[in-house]
């Protein structure tokens, strides 16, 4: 996993609720056996019509701002457990998803892949949408170490929650599997206690 560094970026606003992982990456693109290249098909059926023509007014096509922050409506990432959704978002270039509410499995999948999720109050999210819709060029700063998300115009400075373990993993690029492998003895003990 790549280390998560603080950065500045504009925001890609996607004001839709209940964005499910079938929308993020439709099932027909899950046939690969590697983790690469899923970004090409991120939001496939919103970005392209059935003749593979770009749908011009969809946000990701309309707004070309190379943003690393995806701002989305409530209950982002619901539905299927496919981790391909997190891979697709990361591969497309986002490093953070901001929403008022995330589905549980998606949250785990994101963090396991170096993709930060920032959860803020519904009202705050609304405010950011309004702000960004007025001016798409506003820069925001994401600082994981301080757990802050702020705008350069000085209007917004939010702190967000993340547990210490996940934070340490993201900042240092640590890998959960290395960690679990290092706990082998405890696992063996557990097994010998529980298996007759």
């Amino acid at each position: 996993m790549e280390k998560f560094k603080q950065f500045d970026s504009t925001i890609m606003p996607l004001n839709i609720e209940n964005i499910d992982t079938d929308q993020i990456i439709p099932a027909r693109f899950l046939k690969a056996i590697t983790r690469d290249g899923f970004g090409d098909n991120l939001f496939r059926d919103w970005r392209y019509d059935s003749n593979n023509k770009l749908i011009k007014d969809f946000e990701l096509n309309r707004i070309q701002n190379n943003s690393k922050i995806l701002l989305a409506g409530r209950n982002f990432g619901c539905g299927s457990s496919r981790e391909h959704a997190a891979w697709a978002i990361y591969d497309y270039g986002y490093r953070v998803v901001v929403s008022s509410f995330f589905a549980d499995i998606f949250k785990n999948n994101a963090l396991n892949n170096g993709l930060l999720v920032i959860q803020l109050d519904e009202e705050k999210i609304k405010h950011i949408f309004e702000k960004v819709n007025k001016d798409l060029n506003i820069l925001f700063n994401v600082n994981l170490k301080n757990q802050t998300f702020s705008s350069y115009d000085g209007d917004l400075k939010e702190t967000f929650e993340i547990n210490e373990y996940n934070k340490t993993c993201l900042i240092n690029g640590y890998d959960n599997i290395d960690y679990l492998l290092s706990q082998k003895e405890k696992i063996l003990n557990f097994e010998s206690r529980n298996e007759k």
Partner: protein
């Protein structure tokens, strides 16, 4: 301290607590399939390690397999490659595989229970969100991502934060024509597609206890559709009776001993929940969804409401536009094009019995394409032995071979753009059943009778 059923099973599986972090949870059974496992095996190979407990891992091919001519090589290259990769990985790592052609092959959440792999008190995970199905047996079962599949393959453990606990209690007697699918669609319509997020749900009450195991599985299966990590139901005599004699279930004295310990798996009096919801069974009627998330459901004779819970007007209108519907529309008598009876929600033998019983001697409407996809080879076999396949065929339905099929439309079984499909599956998301497909979720009974009439039908009027 009084504990909930969930606490008991969870606490039994904690290997260690990480301060200010998740817990290390031991996994009793790991189910894998072709779509979400290849990258995890690749990870193991990169580290040069083997699967730690192949004896606790079971594999099947279901998500991406054809439902006709399963004896022939899979035509499509990418799908064939994915299935072959699973076979290769299982061989290399010594994992039991119930692949295409095997008599136990089927949808992962159908075969676990019917083979007796799923047992009370276990922790069960799979790279598929509907792993929640197995909670019907009083186990903690939930879906995981591929990184987590890799964790379990390499250490038989996973890192998880303990979810909050919700109790959903349904008392009373169910109305005629109401099936467990209606119960769960009703609950989700009341609390929305995100109402259970952050929670693990225990279902209880006399209406739940009266249900068969297969009906309980349908309820737990769709827990994820309200955002919950999973659902759990305390095991009882119905559970033990179901497990008895199953292929991988304990036998003889060992079974009796297991039952004695399984009987302790229930919530203590006074156990604390973070949230409790109560519903009356008599309020539940046959249900159907009209929108693009499972929370958008109504009683079958209601009309489309002005808005739905936890959805902005914009999202709501976008959803109705996708469905080609408007506020105030009635769904009853609406013409449909496809009927899909299948998926891990409703493709068990009981579902096929209910559906075939209703259509026996009748013919489907000419304009309808009706597919029945049994959940597993075992279900298929019983259906054939009982002559259900003939009933379906005589009615003009296609009776196909087991797999996920049009539930997620990864194989060729896709609903065409803008066509209406009554589906017994679990998700009505945009494009879920094929790009542009329009899905109405309902029970197998509603689906089957609607195929006969060619329009959405209230089974109580037939």
């Amino acid at each position: 301290m009084a504990k909930t059923l969930f606490d008991k099973v969870w606490d039994n599986h904690v290997v260690d607590y990480i301060p200010n972090g998740p817990s290390i949870i031991y996994i009793d059974k790991h189910l894998i399939h072709e779509v979400t496992s290849p990258q995890a095996f690749a990870g193991l190979n990169n580290r040069n390690i083997k699967v730690y407990r192949p004896d606790r891992t079971v594999a099947t091919a279901d998500h991406n397999v054809p439902t006709i001519d399963q004896h022939l090589p899979i035509k499509e290259t990418l799908s064939r490659n994915q299935v072959e990769t699973l076979t290769k990985n299982c061989k290399e790592h010594n994992i039991d595989l119930f692949g295409l052609g095997h008599k136990y092959q089927g949808i992962v959440h159908v075969i676990g229970p019917e083979l007796g792999i799923t047992q009370p008190g276990m922790t069960i995970v799979c790279g598929d969100s509907h792993t929640s199905t197995h909670g019907a047996f009083g186990s903690i079962a939930f879906g995981i991502g591929t990184s987590e599949v890799e964790m379990v393959l390499s250490t038989q453990c996973i890192l998880q934060n303990k979810p909050k606990k919700m109790l959903i209690k349904i008392d009373g007697e169910l109305n005629n024509g109401v099936y467990s699918k209606d119960i769960i669609l009703y609950i989700i319509s009341k609390i929305s597609a995100s109402g259970g997020t952050g929670y693990f749900v225990e279902y209880s009450g006399s209406a739940i206890q009266s249900l068969s195991m297969e009906a309980r599985m349908t309820i737990c299966n769709m827990s994820i559709e309200m955002g919950a990590r999973g659902g759990i139901i305390a095991p009882d005599d119905i559970t033990f009776e179901y497990i008895k004699g199953k292929k991988f279930a304990p036998k003889g004295d060992e079974f009796e001993e297991s039952v004695r310990s399984w009987k302790k798996l229930k919530s203590d009096n006074g156990a604390k929940y973070d949230k409790i919801l109560e519903f009356e069974a008599s309020d539940i009627e046959p249900m159907i969804t009209y929108g693009t998330n499972p929370g958008m459901g109504i009683k079958i004779n209601e009309s489309i409401p002005e808005k739905s819970l936890n959805s902005s007007n914009e999202s709501y209108n976008k959803s109705l536009k996708y469905m080609g519907l408007s506020i105030g529309d009635q769904l009853l008598n609406k013409k449909i094009d496809y009927v899909f009876i299948g998926s891990c929600t409703n493709s068990r033998i009981e579902d096929l019995r209910i559906a075939s019983n209703l259509i026996k001697g009748k013919k489907k409407a000419d304009h309808v394409n009706a597919w029945v996809i049994p959940g597993s080879k075992s279900v298929e076999k019983v259906a054939i032995d009982e002559g259900l396949d003939q009933i379906f065929k005589n009615a003009g339905f296609e009776f196909r071979q087991p797999g996920c099929s049009a539930c997620l439309a990864m194989n060729e079984d896709k609903i065409p753009k803008e066509k209406y499909c009554i589906s017994t599956s679990n998700r009505n998301f945009e494009g879920r059943q094929g790009p542009g497909a329009r899905t109405f979720l309902a029970s197998p009974a509603t689906a089957a009778l609607s195929a006969i009439n060619g329009f959405i039908t209230d089974i109580r009027n037939n």
